[in-house]
Amino acid sequence: MNVERRWHVVRFLLTSFFLYLVWLVFTASLEPYSLIFGAIGSVGIGALTHTVFIAEHQANLRYIVPNPLHLVLYLFIIIAFLYQSSVMMLRAVFTGEVSPRIVHFRTRLRSDVARMILANSITITPGTITLDLNDDHLTVHWLFCDTNHAKAAGERVKGRMERFIGNIWP
Amino acid sequence: MSMILLHTMQWFLLVSAGICVIRLLLGPTSADRLVALNILSGVTLAFLVVRGVWEKRVLYLDVALVYDIFGFLGFLAIARFLKDRMSDGEEQ
């Protein structure tokens, strides 16, 4: 069994497992008919779509399977960020003191899922919205800009979150 | 007490949806309209959840769940359509 074929099988199993998990969450029933039908459906869809669901170039299992403890922790961290940034935004709405600017920087995360999560986290944190994500290059609109230096801006915008996400997908 | 809270919240969400529709109709550029539409989808989602808790029916929450997951697909289609139309206009 060569490497490519084994990677196909692993992706197929992961996709089917994920689909079955979603099926269980959505139907929320443990009747045998529902369980069997869900298994057949998820295996069939997994066989058809595993090449789309997990791309060929993500050739490492570490890039896909997250660390569950850090993932749950990160969920709470993100909720805290959400409220903190809303209070900052509230002040900006009533005082009107903003200095908008577009900054570009690169990320060192390698996994596609981790980059997507990083882009979404940047949108949630204070005064920044991701405008474009192209491989590892991010374009961010920053409402409270106070620096002109690209590296300093990247550190201010994504520094903490990139370290957290680096723990989830090492 | 909880009924009063939920009732107030429903009225607040309805008024917010009305304001979003005003922005949607006023917006000078299509980007403004899309921003308003984005917020309108969030308000609709919150309204479905509050309504489901108020009437004690799980059906509303199932609808909200599907709307939550597939809501932005329609959104992506609108953005793509506007972009295509804009690039056609530049070529002609």
Partner: protein
């Protein structure tokens, strides 16, 4: 009056504050990007607060479980919606609005 109703009252009150500020910001800022910041971020927080309040008032366990799933998916879908709008705005080539800086005026006055 139970404790969870007080907590729900706090959650709904914060939702009303954030939601009102979002609506004001959506009409006050002059530029789609800044409107996206105000409306998108504050709208997300207001909706999330409504979910927390509804979770506290949920009548049975099936409702509560569904609300938790909706909350988790909302944390993924709301920024994705903002990202779609942001990329659309960026690709149409809209310039970023900049406020008139007081510092530049004072610099010129100092030069004179």
């Amino acid at each position: 009056m139970a404790v969870r109703e007080w907590l729900a009252l706090v959650a709904f009150a914060s939702a009303i504050i954030f939601g009102t500020a979002g609506m004001i910001g959506m009409f006050r800022f002059p530029d789609p990007y800044a409107r996206m910041h105000a409306g998108g971020l504050l709208g997300t927080t207001a909706t999330f607060s409504v979910f927390i309040g509804s979770l506290l008032l949920a009548p049975d366990r099936a409702t509560a479980a569904r609300i938790v799933i909706i909350m988790i998916f909302f944390l993924i879908s709301a920024p994705t919606g903002s990202y779609i709008v942001g990329r659309f705005t960026w690709e149409t080539g809209l310039p970023v609005w900049k406020p008139k800086k007081r510092r530049n005026i004072t610099d010129k006055e100092q030069e004179k």
